[in-house]
């Protein structure tokens, strides 16, 4: 069951440029977390910014009751988050949403994470490995220094392939299927999970469809309530649908075949 909690900040520091990792202690919340879910966070010191901000569970240590967040400073809310110090308390609500589905029996899984889109995939990787799944993570960023999740991914026991726009690490170029055709052909991927820019995920959706591989992706919309009460985060999954899905409650994770990107 999700809850409201004032979580103590253990650490919060800039990793590179506008990328931060925060670790919090959240006894009530941590124990409920599933990969792909998110926390809804009040970042403000006044009434502007007003609304909570959704951030994915980047990593969770249930024993220590700790949750890590990987975030990029893009506006007011994330800037205020970046200004918080260890020892302060963070007003969190969660875990919310409908996370990734986990296979009943072990599979060969592909994780495709672009930039901070890797945020929800790391904790997923951890849980998938605990379930004995074999993992290949494709990790695309602008430049080497943005590969914040790399170490943890490898420690978890995932194979990792990298693409950087500037070629500073791994393959040079954007995170598109063509770039990885060799390894993808070699592996017999059974399931794909992805998060990142929609234009990128669209290409992977096509690739998955061609190769008849099922999968799931995580979507974003601007949110108010985070629980399905305001109907704000609406998204027509397919043009022909009559109704709108709610990203916060029906998602943020959706099956690749239920939506058109």
């Amino acid at each position: 069951m999700p809850s409201l909690e004032k979580a103590r900040i253990i650490s919060n520091s800039k990793q590179y440029h506008n990328l931060y990792i925060m670790e919090i202690e959240a006894p009530q919340t941590a124990k409920e977390c599933k990969p792909g879910q998110f926390l809804h966070i009040f970042t403000s010191t006044g009434l502007d910014p007003l609304l909570r901000r959704p951030l994915s569970l980047y990593d969770v240590d249930k024993e220590a009751a700790r949750i890590s967040l990987l975030y990029k400073v893009v506006g007011k809310g994330t800037a205020l988050l970046a200004a918080m110090s260890p020892g302060e308390y963070l007003d969190i609500m969660g875990p919310l949403g409908h996370g990734f589905s986990l296979p009943e029996s072990a599979r060969k899984c592909l994780l495709v994470g672009g930039g901070v889109g890797m945020a929800p995939l790391l904790y997923l990787a951890r849980v998938l490995r605990q379930g004995g799944n074999e993992l290949l993570a494709l990790y695309g960023v602008g430049t080497e220094k943005e590969l914040l999740a790399l170490e943890r991914l490898e420690a978890i026991g995932s194979q990792v392939q990298i693409a950087t726009i500037d070629g500073s690490c791994g393959l040079e170029g954007p995170l598109i299927p063509q770039l990885f055709s060799e390894i993808l052909n070699a592996k017999r991927i059974e399931f794909i999970y992805s998060c990142g820019p929609e234009s990128m995920m669209k290409l992977w959706q096509e690739w998955a469809r061609l190769n008849r591989i099922p999968g799931e992706i995580s979507l974003e919309e601007y949110m108010a309530c985070g629980v399905g009460a305001c109907l704000g985060c609406a998204r027509k999954l397919k043009p022909e649908n009559e109704t709108y899905a709610k990203i916060c409650k029906d998602g943020p994770v959706f099956s690749l075949d239920e939506l058109v990107l």
Binding site: M1, P2, S3, L4, F42, L47, D48, P49, L50, L51, R52, M93, E221, Y222, M223, A224, C225, G226, V227, G228, A229, C230, L231, G232, C233, A234, R235, K236, E242, T243, Y244, K249
Partner: protein, 303 residues
């Protein structure tokens, strides 16, 4: 301490309600707050037929406020009565229905459909929704229309009827008086202010619907003024809201003339706000020696 209020026949166990469209059908927030402890849950605006709502983006944050253009997404009144009402009733939630019609007949028809259903404490008439093409706000900006639509609804129901007024008018007192003439039992004030935002990168309006309704702390001064004005001229109890995020805000509304208050956008910041507000109000009343919430209502007019 007496916290019960009578909102023109709508009996509330306490004076803090949650506003339509911000609390779903009462259960979305149930992991965080017990809906039956809230003064009243005003459910999402209901229309005669199901509505898919507007294309996104539907919400956007602005300074100390937010814009919404949900477009009255809802499954229609039949589904509400069949699926949601029984659940709420079973849990003894105080329910106020909120209805919006495309025309007078629809308002009247929906009122008659609600009639006789146990568990509905009253009807909030949404004549002020800025986010739908038909129905909604145009019913709320002309005094004659307001009187007629209220009267039409009153004819069909024995439930207390509370029109929800739009702040997007030149003369709110004229609208409130018309509602009173039509037979309103109480007034709900205020709905959202019309507004919009532009995405300078895309060079187009942010909201899928172009325009939206502005809610949240930013609009509190506007709400307080309108309630203060109407309290002086119209003898109907007022459910006051617009930007309430703490008990001090709520006390301002009582003092301006509200008999009960509603929380909208505030729920998004703190889902437990309704109960925390109540605690704050009780504490204030204790400290200041008030024994009934009624003693606070309109007290700012006596200065």
């Amino acid at each position: 301490m007496d916290l019960t209020v009578n909102l023109g026949g709508i009996k509330l166990k306490n004076p803090v309600a949650v506003a339509s469209g911000t609390f779903g059908y009462g259960f979305e927030y149930a992991d965080f707050i017990e809906p039956e402890r809230i003064g009243a849950v005003i459910v999402k605006g209901t229309t005669l037929n199901p509505r898919p709502g507007n294309p996104g983006p539907r919400i956007y944050e602005t300074p100390a406020a937010m814009l919404n253009a949900i477009g009255l997404e809802n499954p229609g009144i039949k589904v509400f009565l069949r699926e949601y009402l029984p659940l709420l009733r079973a849990r003894q939630v105080t329910i106020i229905a909120n209805i919006a019609g495309n025309n007078m007949e629809e308002y009247a028809l929906m009122a008659s459909m609600l009639q006789g259903h146990e568990g509905i404490a009253g009807i909030e008439l949404n004549i002020s929704c800025p986010n739908v093409k038909q129905g909604g706000i145009q019913f709320g900006t002309d005094p004659d229309t307001v009187r007629q639509v209220v009267a039409a609804v009153k004819r069909e129901t024995t439930l207390p009827v509370m029109p929800k007024l739009s702040p997007n008018v030149t003369d709110i007192v004229a609208i409130a008086l018309a509602a009173a003439e039509g037979g309103a039992d109480a007034l709900s004030m205020i709905n959202t202010l019309g507004g919009m935002a532009i995405d300078i990168n895309k060079r187009k309006p942010v909201l899928g619907n172009v325009f939206g309704g502005l809610s949240g702390p930013a609009i509190k001064p506007v709400a307080l003024k309108m309630i203060y004005q109407v309290y002086q001229e119209v003898h109907l109890p007022i459910l006051g809201g617009g930007g309430i995020v703490n008990h001090i805000d709520a006390l301002e509304f009582f003092m301006a003339g509200a008999t009960a208050v509603s929380i909208g956008t505030g729920n998004f910041i703190n889902p437990r706000l309704a109960l925390e507000l109540l605690e704050g109000i009780e504490k204030y009343m204790q400290e200041q020696g008030f024994s009934s919430i009624q003693e606070l209502v309109g007290i700012a007019h006596a200065y």
